[in-house]
């Protein structure tokens, strides 16, 4: 017996141990923290999880996770809907939003092209972007992909497809994103600089 008693406690520790950044030790620590004062710690968290799980939607337009579909960004009339920033993950979108450096909308690919992990173009969430491009609703596409091999591969694939749309400016975030770095761990200043110094692709 690992946790000292109770199938329910062991199951909780097992699930906590699967969270990113968690090991058995941190899972036990968090479980103990929660179980020590269930009413003020465990119950509110369980309730918040349930509410978020019920409310969560994937935006059918951009791929963002939100409680609305279309998400609050896609339905915001004050944003520049003709400027689309392409990111890999929702975490990247959140990072750019926290930095407040992009006034347009987004397209969340949900991944990158990767022959190794078997991710092909058909796995990327790009259809809504090309639909908007076809409809002539896009003036500029900003490629904000990570400076990784997969990010670069994905960017080149996208650029190849974007040349078909003559009137559309395609730019990429400036190098300044550290090699091998993911966007969502960068500080706001770096994100702002990278976006501000974007150049024609």
């Amino acid at each position: 017996m690992d946790a000292g008693g109770g199938q329910e406690i062991e199951q909780l520790i097992r699930l906590l141990g699967r969270l990113p950044g968690f090991g058995p030790r941190s899972a036990r620590r968090v479980a103990l923290y929660l179980l020590k004062e269930p009413q003020t710690r465990l119950v509110p968290l369980a309730r918040a999880l349930e509410k978020a799980g019920d409310a969560i939607r994937t935006c059918s337009s951009c791929g963002n996770l939100d409680t609305l579909d279309p998400c609050h960004i896609c339905r915001d009339p004050l944003r520049e809907h003709a400027v689309v920033c392409v990111v890999e993950t929702v975490g990247d979108l959140w990072a750019l939003e926290r930095a407040g450096v992009h006034r347009g909308v987004y397209q969340v690919l949900g991944g990158t092209l990767s022959p190794l992990s078997g991710t092909g173009p058909e796995d990327l969430n790009v259809a809504p972007l090309f639909a908007r491009l076809e409809a002539g609703q896009v003036r500029e596409v900003i490629l904000a992909l990570g400076a990784t091999v997969e990010g670069a591969t994905t960017m080149h694939w996208l650029m190849d497809r974007l040349v078909a749309y003559g009137g559309v400016t395609v730019s990429r975030v400036a190098q300044g994103v550290p090699m091998g770095g993911a966007l969502d761990v960068l500080d706001d200043g770096t994100l702002a600089a990278a976006l501000g110094a974007r150049r024609p692709a």
Copy 2:
């Protein structure tokens, strides 16, 4: 807006950010991980939290957190109920159980004496131990408290009270070099204790 949308998501991130070892960044990472696949990640965790919260009891005998009261240790007839190991927290109890080094029962104090944080003897869960001592049910008390100022203060206070029970053996866990530990990373206090408690090889 921090999370990119939805009061429910923000509330979840806020609560996750309060967990021990969490900051805003890890809270967002875990929230994203859970929200990305709600059915296989978020819902099972919410359910496990709810179940554990419903099932959890504080053992009225030793202070352990379990789904039973008395806990599975206190009701185990194969354990030596006359040997009581005194620990500070349920986490300490779980650690000793994982190590499988104690065949008796426990008394979880739930804290240590600390004038700074205002924890006095009346805040410690010691009444069940003294009730058992009064009833003559205890042969040995093992003090397994942390090697901190508060742990030492608590231990001395307990030893003062335990001398009243003449027939009871009182011992304390040894201080020294941890298994696998190198000497040059240990603090002076540990080295002094380890050297002072040296025994014939």
